[in-house]
Subunit: 493 residues, 2 copies
Amino acid sequence: MAHGVKKAAAIGGGVIGGGWVARFLLNGIDVAVYDPHPEAKRIMSEILANAERAYAKMLLPPLGEMGTLTFHDTIADAVKDADYIQESVPERLDIKHKVFAEIEATAKKGALIGSSTSGYKPSELQDGAKHPERIFVAHPFNPVYLLPLVELVRTEKNDPKALDRAAAFLTEVGMKPLHVRKEIDAHIADRFLEAVWREGLWLIKDGIATTEEIDDAIRFGFGLRWAQMGLFETYRVAGGEAGMRHFIAQFGPCLSWPWTKLMDVPELTDELVEMIATQSDEQSGKYTIRELERIRDDNLVGILQALKANDWGAGQSLKEMENRFYAKAHAGSAKTEIEDGKPLQLYSTQVRGDWVDYNGHMTEFRYLQVLADGTDAFLIFIGMDETYRKRGLSIYTVETHIRHVRECKAGEKLTLYTRLLGKDEKRLRILHEVLNEAGDVVCTGEHMLLHVNTEEARACPMESPVTDRVETIARAHGGIGTPEFAGRPIRTI
Amino acid sequence: MAHGVKKAAAIGGGVIGGGWVARFLLNGIDVAVYDPHPEAKRIMSEILANAERAYAKMLLPPLGEMGTLTFHDTIADAVKDADYIQESVPERLDIKHKVFAEIEATAKKGALIGSSTSGYKPSELQDGAKHPERIFVAHPFNPVYLLPLVELVRTEKNDPKALDRAAAFLTEVGMKPLHVRKEIDAHIADRFLEAVWREGLWLIKDGIATTEEIDDAIRFGFGLRWAQMGLFETYRVAGGEAGMRHFIAQFGPCLSWPWTKLMDVPELTDELVEMIATQSDEQSGKYTIRELERIRDDNLVGILQALKANDWGAGQSLKEMENRFYAKAHAGSAKTEIEDGKPLQLYSTQVRGDWVDYNGHMTEFRYLQVLADGTDAFLIFIGMDETYRKRGLSIYTVETHIRHVRECKAGEKLTLYTRLLGKDEKRLRILHEVLNEAGDVVCTGEHMLLHVNTEEARACPMESPVTDRVETIARAHGGIGTPEFAGRPIRTI
């Protein structure tokens, strides 16, 4: 559905607010920020740096244009022309009410107002608002720019259409909106986190486990399951053919057993706090928080990509996000002019952290990945898109000649310059030159592409509109000439 | 440390017992199984099929030789020559005591006896045993062949050395042993699962969320965090620069708030069971359990690989496992004879599920991955190992010519035949021919390798022992001749 959100505002730019801002900006949405913190700009720039780094690794398509970030001295000024407003101020109801009053003073009538609160019910937030129907809970999870989940909670005062618009907008910035049926303290996810947190406090207090042992018990075990299936689907599988009823029958009795202490919660004495903090220092003290954030982000990026490859769970949110970025990129490249005597510049990318070997250099086969992605961009440019493919026509690479000229490191930006070396009715011979930011050649790829009828699995002549595009490019590139290294074999020794 | 385990026995071959057997066998350990279930062999073969499939996708090195599986009619017969015995019978103390008695009747004196119990304390298991010092808890997580975590719990009766041997053995089959300091009902991980389970029951009973909504709240949010960092490290990061003390101070008050219902547990009425089972059918009913298992395994494989790429958490367990498989494979290839007039067969692999594109065919750049892995195997074969590299000498691929001859699908086995086409003092020109199981050529790769001094970053002559190995191969391959497609360029059009 059309959500009509063109501009967003963020009230509060800390870990959560800043994460929202990063997600909006990286998805091309302009954001107006209000945060009275004296170091608001520094904190925001640090969060944004981490988020840009993560997106460059997470998204295979080019990142495209970011939204514009502006800082404002008053809430009234920040929200006045925003279509979506996200509140992420400290968890105190009096502060939140004060903020909502200032927002309502200048916010557009149809503005959507989401709160990042992890504990308060929307009815508590709406209390005393002029237009309670605009205010709802949009509870995200840290890091907001990577984790898709956002819990949407409303009351009977809310306009359901407004919530649908909010969901449509949040989906478009790569999130997974979860509509919570009834308002309840801490919504859904945080209730589990609170239960686990309380049990964890008991285990530490009773000297059963340290923070590190508890973390290992999670990340080497059920945490891996929960990154892709939840509690019930996991148990459904464990239950086997007999299914859930059997599983519950089997484990039902445990409910009366002392398998958790959560009939009561421990008192947070100074000793307990000290014990946890010290254990945490021993566990993670060797890293700064920024380092831990980057480690966490790299792991989440890899996990999301792994799930994407299986078209499952949070990987589907990433897939849809990538498709939007690809669409933008192709719209861009379609606009590229074909200039006489100049190679085409259709694709650029960034060496991802998981592309490098133990030496920190891009792994050999990733060179072909970059070249093949460049070939895909070229094929879309000449009109070989979904519509053309649906006609049962496609092009396969039948031969490749790579010259590995220099190493490159994670984070390096690579730009491809592509020229058409030759063609006949069924074949295209193209050359990619891959340059780094310094303008040095990283590698070159010469490729022979064969046009095929995919149903009959045989070579066949190209058809319009591809033929016309190829004709135009052939004329424009005719004058460039062929470099000495092209069209020759690997030297014999 | 030396664990001295050559043979294992498994008492009980269900979902958990079968998972243990699969992990042992795939890591080259012989296993003797006792399971009175009439369909024990069928169930085992199904679990083993899933496990083999997952390992082929998870491990880049060749799988190597599997252990031998034998079925036995009595416990006494199954355990008599086992060094490690794993009990995975139903969770009833009387049954477990009966089983331990039968095990002790014929088990070797020094045998290690682990129990998969998720609830009982080791002291309860040891009760009435002849040699309680051999019996301990080794609690794994489903799927046992993929999840590294195993909780080791002992009593003061146990011999700590025995537990260390068990830990060393379990580490060698790719697991992450977690020594639990004090015995406690449900150990550590299951206490969290129980707390989350109880909270989940409340949310469903109160109509706040369905099984599917709860699963989404987990897998699109904190589940992704927990696959790589646990509870405390995640919160340490969320706490920011101020660290754990600050975080606890901030969230401490919640302990007194109704953020979880876990002061009390719901009654498992027939209505509640029916509600959960029905919701679960709606959520996952479109898949059979076997399908869900494979989806789960593919996701876990991808997640573990992603964590491996970042050398973090459970990915480190996988990395060490791969290194053991590589070592085996290289030991094998080192034994390969160099035969006159015959290409070398040093590397074979299997097309992994995440290597295929939306058409189900191996993605273009994965062809170079297979060829590059074959080149690595060749380099180790000619003596270019860690020791040689430590001398500051290495070889880089400077040029590659690939002929993409045919498509291949996920699961296809590929075998590489490698020959030396030419050499001089600094360079090697090699050719890989990649064949599928039917013997058809899938692709060929011609590669020019340049020998370099890595410190001075310049080409330099090869040294002994590499030079001698290369000489021998050159003599043996001299007679094979060069195929017409080698040493020629991509045809000009």
